[in-house]
Amino acid sequence: MAETHSLQDMRQQAAIAAKVFIQRDYTNGTVCQFQTKFPSELETRIDKQQFEETVRTLNNLYAEAEKLGGSSYLEGCLACLTAYTIFLCMETHYEKVLKKIAKFIQEQNDKIYAPRGLLLTDPIERGLRVVEVTIFEDRSLGR
């Protein structure tokens, strides 16, 4: 992919300057939400609104994955009736949304974060604990 090659090239020129971790926000319980507070280390790199927008969209996607509604209950009941064997063959709603999230993050990285020397790590890679933002050194880019 062209985008990753460019990131690779950039990375070969740049080194990791820092990593910022966006922690989970537990004010609504155990649902997966991340804090939208803008970390100070990113102030020079990216627009606050942009960043908050990304995190908010992520939060919405996770809320969609964990939503308790008609379809999830249906899936749960069907699974119960089949002694949960359908989990072996079917992809759950959560997994489908996780794929969407992965695509969203990649898209955000390509369009917004990579050009600014940042990289978002999919939270699922970190056990849904943090959103890891890797800040690359700004040597080759003239910013």
Binding site: L7, F21, T27, L68, E75, G76, T92, K99, L128
Partner: protein, 490 residues
């Protein structure tokens, strides 16, 4: 190259790099990534994996074989000795219903035992460092050590999050560290020796299905066998005659009679937990019932509606496994970066180093990559961190060697003595658990005493560690000794 330097820093900065890592790289290099190791092979917790990572069980299977054996024996005896008679004299539905229940019981038991209960992967070294920095910054450290707790507001209620020294992170709410499995488990209910696994967020519904269907099966078999004997004893021939004709029924009767009370009790207890959206852990510790002395108690996670609680616990969306068991380990060494990167790029992996982030972009396009128990994480469980069984109530900054860094999977089983210890507050529900075990297996009384089911409180440590060098003084202290010596061998 800069990112190579970064990579080198990482493993070398760690106190005890996993011994398995260098051989892995050698292997990978030699065989061009064909035998790249999967993440389950270096998983830091005390779990065992089968079928190349598809099946996960706890370190010791506990009494799972006994559970399975009892169920199988009773059901087989039922089908062989009672069903023909009942089929002839009553109805064909009896074996049919029995069969369906049996299938449900066995499937849900196996799923409970072999499913990842919701293990939280350990924090990567960067995360751990970041958290440590935050703690140091915010800790007062004037009159006492910085508290390893964090308070958050959940639904307008203050909840304390504890720091897990093994996993190097603040535990999310409702998460608890199981010292038997040496993992933090989300929505930790209890560690069940009967199923040989922890019961947590992901397998609670299987566990509940198991005990409910087992109650039905037990009651059903009991009823059918009683009917069978009653029918045989008709006509004034007497019970003894009936028993002589069908001795297997006596065995079934005994097993079912003793199990039915405990299983029914357990089902009832868990139905109450489901309806109030509590976990066994919280119920026993009295987190929300005011016994902890907090003023404003009340379960902040409950929806205050029985139906909603039941639905959310049992029929909610199935969360994914956060430990990517079958993903491949990323290669750490810089020399092999180029060669193996290409092979590994096709597989799910994560890496805290830059190399992994590049692969991440590629793999992100394919599928989400759940987290792993990483070797770096493993090796940063430095000797000066506290024993994994964290203090239940107080923070004890005493440092104890933490040998859990060493992955145990390749090295056979470690010995665990699951010893019992009474819970802080003996309760009726806990008594159910006691009875459950007493009546389940009369023959293995010593084993039963050892394999106490469900006081998760002592998995989480009832008392603060007293001897820094040896681990907590509570039940699992013995196993820590052995773990220490075992780690020394590593």
């Amino acid at each position: 190259m800069k990112h190579c330097e970064y990579q080198q820093i990482d493993p070398q900065a760690l106190s005890t790099p996993t011994p398995t890592l260098p051989p892995q790289h050698a292997v990978v290099e030699e065989e061009k990534g064909e035998t790249a190791r999967r993440k389950w092979e270096v998983f830091p917790g005390k779990n065992r994996f089968y079928c190349d990572g598809r099946i996960i069980v706890a370190q010791q299977s506990g009494v799972l074989p006994l559970t399975l054996g009892l169920i199988l024996v009773t059901t087989v005896l039922f089908f062989v000795f009672d069903c023909p008679f009942l089929l002839k004299h009553l109805t064909v539905f009896i074996p049919a219903i029995g069969g369906v229940l049996f299938v449900f019981v066995v499937i849900s038991l196996l799923q409970t035992s072999f499913t990842d209960p919701g293990i939280l992967p350990r924090a990567t070294p960067d995360e751990a460092a970041d958290i440590e920095k935050q703690i140091d910054n915010s800790g007062s450290s004037t009159y006492r050590p910085p508290p390893r707790t964090k308070e958050v507001m959940i639904n307008q209620q203050v909840v304390k999050l504890k720091y897990c020294f093994t996993c190097k992170m603040f535990r999310p709410p409702r998460t608890s560290h199981c010292s038997l499995c040496d993992n933090c488990v989300e929505r930790f209910d209890h560690h069940c020796p009967w199923v040989g696994n922890c019961v947590g967020k992901r397998n609670y519904r299987f566990f509940y299905t198991f005990i409910v269907s087992l109650s039905f099966l037990t009651v059903f078999i009991f009823g059918c066998v009683a009917t069978h004997l009653a029918l045989r004893a008709q006509g004034g021939r007497g019970l003894m005659f009936a028993l002589q004709e069908s001795p297997a029924s006596a065995v079934e009767l005994v097993i079912c009679f003793f199990s039915v009370w405990s299983i029914l009790g357990l089902s009832g207890f868990h139905t109450y937990l489901v309806a109030s959206n509590l976990t066994t852990n919280e119920d026993i510790k009295g987190s929300w019932s005011g016994k902890s002395g907090a003023e404003d108690t009340g379960n902040p996670y409950s929806y205050n509606n029985i139906i909603t609680n039941c639905c959310s616990v049992l029929c909610g969306p199935m969360p994914p496994s956060l430990i990517d068991r079958r993903g491949f380990m990323p290669v750490e060494e810089s020399s092999q970066t180029v060669a193996t990167e290409i092979e590994l790029a096709a597989k799910n992996e994560i890496n805290v180093c830059t190399q992994g982030t590049k692969d991440l972009l590629e793999s992100a396009s394919r599928s989400p990559c759940p987290q792993t128990g990483k070797p770096q994480t493993v090796s940063t469980s430095c000797p000066d961190s506290i024993d994994p069984a964290d203090p239940a109530v107080t923070f004890n900054p005493a440092v104890t060697p933490d040998p859990v860094a060493v992955p145990s999977l390749k090295c056979g089983g470690r010995h665990h003595s699951h010893t019992t210890s009474p819970p802080d507050e003996p309760r009726q529900q806990h008594h159910h658990h006691n009875r459950h075990h007493k009546t389940r297996s009369t023959q293995s009384s010593s084993k039963r005493a050892a394999l106490h089911i469900s006081n998760p409180a002592y998995n989480v440590s009832l008392s603060p560690p007293t001897s820094p060098g040896l681990g907590p003084s509570h039940a699992t202290g013995a196993e820590d000794h052995r773990r220490d010596s075992f780690a020394a061998l590593h």
